[in-house]
């Protein structure tokens, strides 16, 4: 059984016929070729697949593509500015060495952006650690991710950036 799915992905409307059981992450990766969104597990535990659906972070492996019909989806490919300038959270991850193999990174960054948006007053380390509890990173030990998320959130809300140590 196929269904018609219309989603605005990174600002561009797309309509595709897909098998009913197609997950949103499969729709992005396989149907649209947006391979920046990753799959790290099959139990919705790792967060490698996080995208924004109507502005909120969502594990795209937990959603059928059909359930996102009519929604606006932003993936890691859609985060940087049109001129290629990195989003402040992307830039903070680079500055603070918050990625190693890069596989968890797209989901981690998308979760971090949503976390920052939900804490307009800024975040302490505990808030960041608890807020990223749904994203597993096997490489970094989280130390630099936490630093990056605090710095990236500061830049996002216009607070003076602290230099990396």
């Amino acid at each position: 059984m196929t269904v018609s799915v219309s989603i605005t992905v990174n600002g561009k409307p797309v309509t595709r016929q897909v098998e009913g059981r197609t997950l949103l992450v499969q729709f992005l990766r396989e149907t649209l070729g947006l391979t920046g969104t990753h799959v790290g597990c099959d139990t919705s535990q790792c967060g490698a697949c996080v995208v924004h659906v109507d502005g909120r972070s969502v594990k795209s492996c937990t959603l059928l593509a059909a359930q996102a019909d009519g929604c606006a989806v932003t993936t890691i490919e859609g985060l940087a500015a049109a001129d290629g300038a990195l989003h402040p959270m992307q830039a903070a991850f680079r500055e603070h060495h918050a990625l190693q193999c890069g596989f968890c990174t797209p989901g981690m960054v998308m979760s971090a952006v949503d976390l920052a948006n939900r804490h307009p007053g800024g975040m302490d380390e505990t808030t960041v650690r608890e807020g990223l509890e749904g994203n597993i990173c096997r490489c970094t030990g989280y130390h630099n991710i936490v630093k990056a998320v605090i710095a990236g959130a500061d830049t996002m809300r216009g607070a003076p950036a602290k230099a990396a140590e």
Partner: protein, 783 residues
């Protein structure tokens, strides 16, 4: 002045741009024209005889192109283990048959039974359910002590007592004599829990046969594509090496688990020729839990003999290592030569004797996982030292100091093979004590006690061996390969550089660190350098990345290649500058006539080499040099961690309240990257100590911890931030003075954490110190 992007700079990583924008290219991101999808049917039983397999209904299912079982793949050579271990009675290890698809028996849950190839992944997976396998279910052996009991079922019918080898190292008589004069003996039973590596990118492979060229290409999640090609050619017989290209593109973490040559890529590659189309397989996490090689799984009894003043006299260790159902690619050496030679730790121990029994069970194969043998050895010696100090009422830091190899005793020959090259163990310990405010611990403990909490502090002063390895040395110990590394430096006519390495990055940052070497050695800025790796058709043969070897061995090869470039450049410069070759100096990217300001940049020399109109006679055009580097010794990174925990006795919950790591990795190229490696390693070690445990049902052999809902991965809110520091004692025997930093955190942290936990509760307990197990330990029902 050193260039700002050379050795010593915390240069931000070149590779991050693509990873941060979703443009990384991992194996599953590749799709080949006309590609089919594979699904592997796996054994649901830990141990069963296969009476028959009926694939008829599956072959007829929608979209299915073909189905293959063990009966179809007999032409593929068996999966191999590349290190021969000899038992103490002189007999060679017993490696059971390891077929890519099971033939007579299945030997663990997840063992490979059939491959279904279809137009889509879902069709392949659906069709796999239609395969009828007639199993005669046998009793499984899961626990090593039961596997060796008389009458136990045999994993491999021809291997008695399920024993692969009974190996030993060291001088038994000397060790017995040391114990005979001991004033105090400390004894512990130690379990090193089984772990699942869990790189976040699951393994994947695309086999692609080109009938026009009669050649194969394999895209795969590998830490060592050349080794994969060699094994797939020489042992599995898929194609000769010159007809096989292996591409390991961006790889999402390895930690050892992607060193090995597994059934999946072997069969996909072979099958692509059978079906005449590319065959893609991407594992899911459940398959990773079942069929990635696991790590650790040792059961050990250790005894240590001391004189009255705490001087260590001898160490005796017996370890039973669970090898799983089959010998994985390097499984045999991990609990032997990568383990027992590290049992001396940072200490002068006159006599050591270790016995290791390698045992088969009906569980997933066990092989190298971050640290590979050294974490197990470190855990033994550091738990022993801490326990001995407590029993003898000597401060554990002081106990270590009394027994350390002193800084003036290098090179230091241990009684178990290794010659330590350098180290400053006292200095590192002192810095760790200062950074952790050891002096203030009693006050903090009292403050915790006032709140009803148990506070503990634990040390781990670790040694490890990296930079594997001098080829002749490991060859004499049974290794089937050489362990050198390669590099090629190619100047382009316009003066930028392509650097080809035989090692492979999957998180370590080679594209940045190696470019920094070029910046320092050749004076070419890092943004003018492209590091190329992971493709056997592009890079020189190399042994790949594991054992924290890439910089010590691969980096040394880069230095050698740079030296050759400079040598040739000097000849060209002498000609162009009309000076004697001996008068030409090279520095900061410039060839200068000594004592003058007459100079040519290395870019000008490169251009002259490719447009050799005015050129020295007898010198070949072009500027491209290769080098191979075979190390003369291992390197010996060392360090001390101090972990402080607070435990709630009512809930058993352990909180790490302070964590300090001082490491001596020799010379540091990029401090930012090095610290990142330390953080990541520490969390894997904390994971082992507090959270992670791969558990099989002891009767059925079913994996009880087969998903992230059952196997506790460390998450951001499980761990603290760390205080890390570096001491630099250059390695004396490689040109960079580097030692390796990739595994230290994971090697040391299990011991530092468990020393802190056992200090807090006042009792020995086994890992992982989960709340339930800690609570039981405190309240007297220890596990």
């Amino acid at each position: 002045m050193a260039p700002l992007d050379g050795i010593g700079a915390s240069l931000r990583r070149k590779e991050d741009q693509r990873f941060l924008t979703g443009k990384g290219r991992y194996t599953d991101d590749f799709n080949r024209h006309g590609q089919l999808h594979a699904y592997f049917l796996r054994s649901p039983h830990a141990h069963a005889r296969i009476r028959g397999i009926d694939t008829g209904r599956a072959k007829a299912a929608p979209g299915v192109v073909d189905v293959f079982t063990g009966a179809d793949t007999k032409a593929i050579g068996g999966l191999i283990c590349g290190w021969m271990i000899t038992s103490k009675d002189g007999t060679p290890m017993k490696a059971g048959s390891h077929r890519p698809l099971a033939e007579d028996k299945v030997r663990y849950v997840g063992d490979h039974v059939a491959i279904v190839i279809a137009e889509t992944y879902n069709e392949a997976k659906d069709a796999a359910e239609l395969i009828d396998v007639d199993y005669d279910v046998l009793t499984a052996v899961v626990v090593t002590d039961k596997a060796r009991a008389p009458g136990a079922p045999l994993v491999h019918d021809e291997i008695a007592k399920n024993t692969c080898y009974e190996w030993s190292l060291g001088d038994k008589a000397a060790t017995d004599a040391a114990f005979a004069k001991a004033a105090h003996v400390t004894k512990l039973d130690i379990v090193n829990n089984r772990l699942v590596p869990n790189a976040i990118e699951p393994r994947a492979a695309i086999g692609d046969y080109d009938s026009g060229m009669d050649s194969f290409t394999l895209y795969t999640t590998s830490q060592n594509p050349h080794v994969a090609r060699l094994v797939l050619s020489a042992f599995n017989g898929i194609a000769p090496e010159h007809k096989l290209r292996v591409i390991a593109p961006d790889v999402g973490g390895g930690f050892g688990s992607k060193i090995f040559i597994y059934a999946e890529e072997t069969v996909c590659l072979w099958a692509s020729k059978q079906v005449g189309r590319p065959v893609k397989w991407t594992g899911d996490r459940s398959e990773a839990f079942l069929a990635d090689a696991h790590g650790r799984d040792h059961v050990t009894t250790a005894e240590m003999a001391m004189a009255r003043d705490g001087t260590i006299l001898g160490l005796r260790v017996h370890t039973t290592a669970n090898l799983g159902a089959y010998l994985s690619t390097f499984a045999s050496c991990v609990p032997t030569y990568l383990y027992a030679p590290l049992l001396s730790g940072q200490y002068r121990i006159p006599a050591i004797y270790a016995e290791v029994d390698g045992v088969y069970t009906n569980t997933a194969p066990v092989d190298a996982y971050r640290g590979a043998g050294r974490p197990e050895a470190t855990f033994v010696i550091e738990r022993m030292v801490e326990t001995a100090a407590r029993e003898m009422k000597i401060d554990p830091a002081e106990f270590r100091r009394r027994n350390f190899v002193p800084a003036d005793a290098f090179p230091y020959q241990t009684p178990v093979i290794m010659t330590y090259d350098s180290g400053q163990y006292h200095k590192v310990l002192d810095e760790a004590l200062t950074l952790s405010d050891y002096a203030g611990f009693p006050a903090r403990k009292a403050e915790s006690a006032a709140r009803g909490k148990l506070r503990g502090i634990g040390f781990c002063s670790y040694i490890e061996a990296c930079g594997i390895a001098p080829s002749a040395a490991v060859g004499s110990l049974g290794a089937g390969v050489g362990l050198w590394e390669s590099a090629k430096v190619r100047f382009n006519p316009t003066g930028n550089v392509l650097l080809y390495t035989g090692s492979h990055q999957h998180g370590q940052g080679h594209e940045t660190t190696f470019a920094q070497l070029i910046s320092t050695y050749l004076g070419v800025p890092t943004d003018q350098v492209e590091v190329i790796h992971g493709d056997t058709e592009k890079t020189p043969f190399g042994m790949g990345t594991y054992g924290s070897r890439s910089l010590a061995v691969g980096g040394s090869a880069i230095v050698k290649a740079c030296e050759k470039v400079i040598e040739k450049g000097r000849k060209i410069a002498a000609h162009l500058l009309e000076a004697a070759e001996g008068d030409i100096e090279f520095k900061d990217g410039k060839f200068t006539v000594a004592g003058t300001d007459r100079a040519k940049s290395i870019q000008e020399i490169a251009f002259a080499a490719y447009v050799p109109h005015n050129y020295p006679q007898g010198v070949e055009p072009g500027l491209e040099e290769s080098a191979f580097y075979d190390p003369v010794n291992f390197t010996f990174p060392s360090g001390t961690q101090v972990c402080e925990v607070e435990i709630d006795p009512d809930t058993g919950v352990t909180t790490i309240v302070n964590f300090v790591a001082i490491d001596d990795f020799g010379k540091i190229i990029n401090p930012m990257i090095v610290e990142g490696q330390v953080h990541g390693g520490i969390v894997q070690g904390i994971g082992q100590a507090l959270l992670e445990n791969a558990v099989y049902d002891p009767e059925s052999g079913q994996l009880l911890t087969g998903s992230y809902m059952d196997y506790t991965m460390p998450r951001a809110d499980d761990v603290p931030s760390f205080k890390v520091g570096l001491v630099e004692t250059p390695c004396p025997h490689n040109p960079l003075g580097v030692k390796g930093c990739g595994e230290a955190g994971a090697i040391a942290a299990p011991a530092s954490v468990m020393n802190a936990v056992t200090d807090a509760i006042g009792k020995h307990m086994q890992m992982p110190a989960t709340p339930e197990r800690v609570w039981r330990a405190i309240h007297g029902t220890a596990v």
